[in-house]
């Protein structure tokens, strides 16, 4: 069993779908951050078999809506004085903007670089999003977008 030191004040991003942890780690800029953080991959999970966990020894302002789009099952634990003071469960945001690129090569956002690609929730039950411009569909939590 791998032991990782507990954090005093910070965040634990738990229940990340196994394999998505590194993307989120990079998206949060943790690979270049000056404070301590760690990514633990393929942790055994009763719920999903395997999961990734990110521990951050700092209280960050995170865009939870984007985390919800990447993986709606994620739970963020806020730690203060080594105690979990808050659990934040993700929800599917109504809009995700400026984070992902549209994968449709014919989409106008591919060539007009000043445009912020925007994805709108069209079906909450199925987690379906559409590109505001070209209507290409994406499913939240699936690895079909590029950070």
């Amino acid at each position: 069993m791998l032991n990782v030191t507990t954090i005093k004040n910070g965040l634990v991003i738990d229940h990340i779908r196994a394999g998505s942890g590194w993307k989120i780690f990079q998206w949060l800029g943790l690979d270049k951050a000056p404070f301590t953080s760690c990514l633990i991959q393929n942790v055994p999970s009763q719920k999903s078999g395997k999961k990734d966990i990110i521990k951050i020894d700092n209280i960050l302002n995170i865009d939870y809506s984007v985390l919800g789009f990447i993986d709606p099952n994620i739970c963020v634990n806020v730690i203060e004085n080594e105690v979990i003071v808050r659990k934040i469960n993700m929800e599917l945001p109504s809009k995700v903007q400026g984070v992902f690129s549209c994968k449709n090569p014919r989409c106008i956002t591919i060539t007009e670089h000043y445009v912020s690609p925007t994805f709108l929730l069209v079906n909450k039950e199925k987690g379906l999003y559409r590109c505001e411009y070209c209507d290409t569909l994406y499913v939240a939590g699936q690895n079909n977008t590029e950070l």
Binding site: R106, Y114, Y133
Partner: protein
């Protein structure tokens, strides 16, 4: 109120607004002289970043017949976009000169983007394989003229349903009217896209079926909407050659169809409708061209606040 509005996709128009435009088109068809000066002093800019002679000429004829003037380009190679100008800047500039802009581009979503920077109404004249709402208005004016209304039709869409934007737009518009049923006839490589089924038809509770053979379903259709398998929508030539002749309408197939079925086609056709069908009274695609000009006249008059 349509004055000053953009038309990017069929959904931008309510059912009553479509009726309003179709009714005005009908008035123009009956008495075109009464409308020959309603856009006097106004300018239509036609920005065609990809060639489409038919659509461009239809827009220009429409504005000229309303007494207005036209400016624009038929090919992006003559524009500042080749120097790296953004679409946003092009639109800011052109909308300073014109009263209404009709634009076609190969990029999906370009018309929506343009509408965010334009000082005048944008009419989407086709954005890639996405939307082509004025073709939809053309089709609807034609259907209303020849079929008496928009309800209770079995509409067959045949050919390239994956990239054929006219199909997507017409299906979106016709889903609002009760009793319509859609039959999508295509090879499996060119089936109608998921977003249309999942986002548009299923939420609206529209009945639809798919078929691979035109022969199997032609006898139940009231309207047959044929489409061209477009070479420019394919990434490689082999796929185009393999699929382009899959669905050809000829006299033999027309014999199986209802006597009052009408055949529509957004044109240009290549070989998907044999020339021998042209003399059949059910062939409506050349009437459709003229109705298209009237539909665009009605739209331009409304968006520019000329009527």
């Amino acid at each position: 109120m349509l004055t000053g509005r953009h038309l990017i996709q069929p959904d931008d128009l309510s059912v009553s607004e479509i009726d309003e435009i179709c009714s005005l088109a009908e008035q123009i068809i009956v008495d075109p002289k009464s409308f020959q000066d309603v856009c006097r002093g106004k300018i239509l800019a036609t920005l065609f970043f990809e060639p489409s002679t038919r659509t461009r000429l239809s827009f220009e004829a429409a504005m000229l017949r309303l007494g207005g003037a036209v400016e624009g380009f038929a090919d992006a190679s003559y524009t500042s976009s080749t120097k790296g100008e953004t679409l946003a800047d092009t639109i800011r500039v052109v909308s300073s000169y014109a009263d209404v802009i009709a634009m076609r581009t190969p990029k999906e979503g370009a018309a929506l983007l343009a509408s965010k920077y334009s000082a005048c109404p944008i009419i989407n004249a086709g954005d890639g394989g996405h939307y082509h709402p004025t073709q939809t208005l053309t089709d609807m004016v034609t259907i209303r003229q020849l079929c008496g209304g928009f309800e209770n039709h079995v509409i067959g869409f045949c050919g390239d349903l994956k990239f054929g934007r006219t199909v997507h737009s017409l299906a979106e518009a016709m889903r609002h009217y009760k009793g319509n049923k859609f039959v999508f006839i295509s090879p499996k490589e060119l089936t109608v896209p998921d977003y249309l089924i999942k986002n548009v038809l299923e939420p609206a509770g529209v009945q639809y079926e798919t078929a691979e053979s035109l022969d199997d379903v032609i006898d139940k259709l009231d309207i047959l909407y044929m489409t061209r398998v477009q070479k420019e929508r394919f990434f490689n030539e082999q796929d185009y050659i393999r699929l382009k002749d899959c669905y050809i309408l000829d006299k033999a197939r027309m014999k199986k169809a209802k006597d009052n079925m009408i055949v529509l086609h957004p044109l240009p056709r290549v070989n998907e409708i044999a020339p021998e069908v042209d003399d059949d009274p059910r062939a409506a695609y050349f009437k459709q061209v003229k109705y298209g000009m009237y539909a665009r006249m009605a739209l331009i008059a409304k968006l520019t606040g000329s009527i």
